[in-house]
């Protein structure tokens, strides 16, 4: 299914924060988890994830450190911070508001 770019972009931040709240992770694993969670519907361009991660890091919502991967290459691992968790809670509230509103009208207008 073709997703609107704005929707994908808007959902990127809460999704990344939530995935990192589950545990520390790195770029590729985040993308795999997103594909897994969305059942294959959300396809993030790999390269686009990294500017998002850098922006979140700049705002202090996540923290990064270099570690070693299984194959021995160095790899950047990300983890969430306190501000990140607070922001996640905030975003969750906002999305729930939107969700409830839309559900309300869809149930009424188009019972599907």
């Amino acid at each position: 299914m073709e997703m609107s770019k704005d929707l994908v972009a808007a959902s990127a931040t809460p999704l990344v924060l939530a995935i990192l709240a589950e545990g520390d992770s790195y770029g590729y694993a985040i993308i795999k988890r997103v594909a897994e969670l969305s059942g294959g519907h959300l396809h993030w361009t790999d390269g686009m994830l990294y500017p998002v991660l850098h922006r979140l890091e700049r705002h202090g919502l996540i923290a990064a450190k270099w570690g070693a991967s299984e194959s021995g290459r160095s790899r950047k691992y990300y983890r969430t911070t306190k501000e990140g968790r607070a922001q996640l809670a905030l975003q969750r509230q906002q999305w729930e508001v939107v969700d409830d509103t839309l559900r309300g009208i869809w149930l009424h207008a188009c019972p599907a």
Binding site: M1, E2, Y26, G27, Y28, K32, G40, H43, T45, D46, G47, M48, Y50, P51, H54, R55, R58, W66, S69, S71, R73, S74, R75, K76
Partner: protein, 493 residues
């Protein structure tokens, strides 16, 4: 550093991709490492799913997305990176380079040595201000060019023997210039003083390009370097002039005479040291900042052309012949050098980057994107050509539904990736002449005819199907190519 012979072709491709990534200004070293790690993870996962190495590479690269869009996003993120900073630090690597510190120390040492070298003759009683200008004028280049040569020999890690060979012209120059009995104020002395630097500059050039002196590219590199060095030197000289002016003014304000400082130390030592520092800056900024020499060339070439035309017209009009005297001839010599320099630098700029890249690397699937072009449909073609059929992907669809695969007389599929180059537009017929026959997989957009002499090994359609279907039941290749355009080649019997 492994040589290309050691690396497998796959590593070559990854290195190529990494190089392409590094060219983007907004993406810095650590980010490149991160993205490369991601690419390798992706390739490992695809390889587990059953794809061959280079297929995994192609698809992983596609999934990384368009490099242009990527660098735009990075640029938006890190907008301060857009200012082309002269960062004298190694691009790669997460630790600061010891190599850079060594280089800085070497350069500083050589600059100080050059500055001191010009003061050395003062120890033997040859003073700059006091009537020995002829000596200094003759030997000016000998103070600094040997040190510059040493710098380049060190930088290119040449062996000592080539260094010794290069010492010969310097020694010869030094000996001949100082031993020959010049008459004071003679023209010979003036000419020698003018031409010895040029001859020794060639020796410096040899140290600069090393073995590539005999290739046109090497010499052009040296010309570029010389042009840039002149510009940097002028800039540093202007800065030095400002510095000298302020020094004189400030010391004059407290009634101290600082002219001996300016004349004896600042100006000569600065002039010598600036050559080395300027060379270092030119080397450091090679790939970072747009070269200024070509820019200035484009500015001044029209002006010089107009000047020359007006001069010719005036000469023809007034009918007065050129005064054939030595100074005039030297002047015209210099004019010739200038014109040659302008033409050479203009020629360097004139090659469009896109075609060069296309011409140079058609055979390696070096990263990236299909060349952009216009969608063209299948057309009937009776001639004995390999016909490229173009189909844009319905977004989100599977290429298996793309129809040309089912059409009769299409015997195979070839996919290829061109280096990302926004300037390249595939026009009908344009690509055909330029692709080499070793392109194993090709895909492009736009209608193209390939002459029959281009032999392209085609993958059999069924095999490609099979390869795709093997991956977890979902056509992986398709995802990578979903938004790109796939070309199918068929041979009309």
């Amino acid at each position: 550093m492994t040589t290309s012979a050691d690396r497998s072709p796959l590593e070559e491709q990854i290195a190529q991709w990494r190089l392409n990534l590094r060219r983007r200004r907004a993406i810095h070293g650590a980010d490149v490492e991160e993205l490369e790690g991601h690419l390798r993870d992706q390739m490992a996962a695809l390889a587990d799913a059953g794809l061959a190495g280079d297929e995994a590479f192609l698809i992983a690269v596609k999934r990384m997305g368009s490099l242009d869009a990527l660098s735009r996003e990075f640029a938006r993120e890190h907008s301060e990176r857009l200012w082309k900073q002269l960062v004298i630090a190694p691009e790669a690597g997460l630790e600061p380079g010891k190599a850079t510190r060594t280089e800085t120390l070497v350069v500083l040492g050589l600059a100080v040595a050059a500055a001191l070298a010009i003061k050395l003759p003062a120890l033997f009683g040859l003073r700059l201000g006091g009537g020995d200008e002829a000596f200094y004028a003759r030997n000016a280049s000998l103070f600094v060019f040997p040190l510059l040569t040493v710098y380049f020999l060190w930088k290119r890690t040449s062996d000592v023997t080539s260094g010794l060979w290069l010492a010969l012209p310097f020694a010869a120059g030094a000996v001949s210039v100082n031993v020959y009995p010049f008459r004071t104020g003679s023209d010979t002395q003036l000419l020698t003083a003018l031409h010895l630097p040029i001859a020794l500059w060639l020796a410096v050039g040899f140290a600069y390009v090393r073995s590539r002196w005999f290739a046109a590219e090497g010499r052009m590199n040296f010309v570029r370097f010389s042009g840039e060095l002149v510009i940097y030197y002028v800039l540093i000289a202007l800065g030095g002039g400002v510095l000298t002016g302020f020094t004189l003014m400030m010391f004059h304000a407290i009634k101290t005479n600082a002219e001996w400082l300016a004349q004896g130390w600042l100006i000569p030592c600065g002039a010598m040291g600036a050559v080395i520092v300027g060379s270092w800056l030119v080397e450091a900024k090679q790939s970072v900042i747009e070269n200024m020499a070509p820019v200035l060339t484009r500015l001044f070439t029209p002006l010089f052309t107009v000047l020359l035309l007006v001069f010719l017209a005036t000469m023809a009009w007034t009918g007065s012949p050129i005064n054939v005297e030595r100074e005039v001839l030297i002047g015209f010599d210099l004019l010739l050098v200038l014109v040659v320099g302008l033409v050479a630098l203009l020629r360097l700029r004139a090659r469009p980057a896109g075609t060069t890249r296309l011409l140079r690397r058609p055979a390696t699937a070096a990263c990236g994107q299909c060349a952009r072009g216009r969608w063209g449909g299948a057309r009937g073609d009776r001639s004995a050509h390999l016909r490229v059929w173009l189909h844009s992907q319905p977004s989100g669809g599977s290429w298996r539904e793309s129809h040309s695969a089912r059409q009769p007389r299409v015997v195979g599929v070839a996919l290829c990736v061109f280096p990302a180059s926004p300037g390249v537009v595939c026009r009908p017929g344009a690509m055909a002449n330029r692709l080499s026959a070793r392109v194993l997989r090709m895909g492009c957009t736009g209608g193209c005819h390939f002459p029959a002499r281009v032999r392209l090994p085609l993958m059999h359609l069924a095999a490609l199907h099979r390869r795709i279907l093997l991956t977890k039941g979902r056509p992986v290749s398709v995802d990578g190519l979903r938004h790109e355009r796939v070309a199918l080649l068929g041979r009309r019997p």
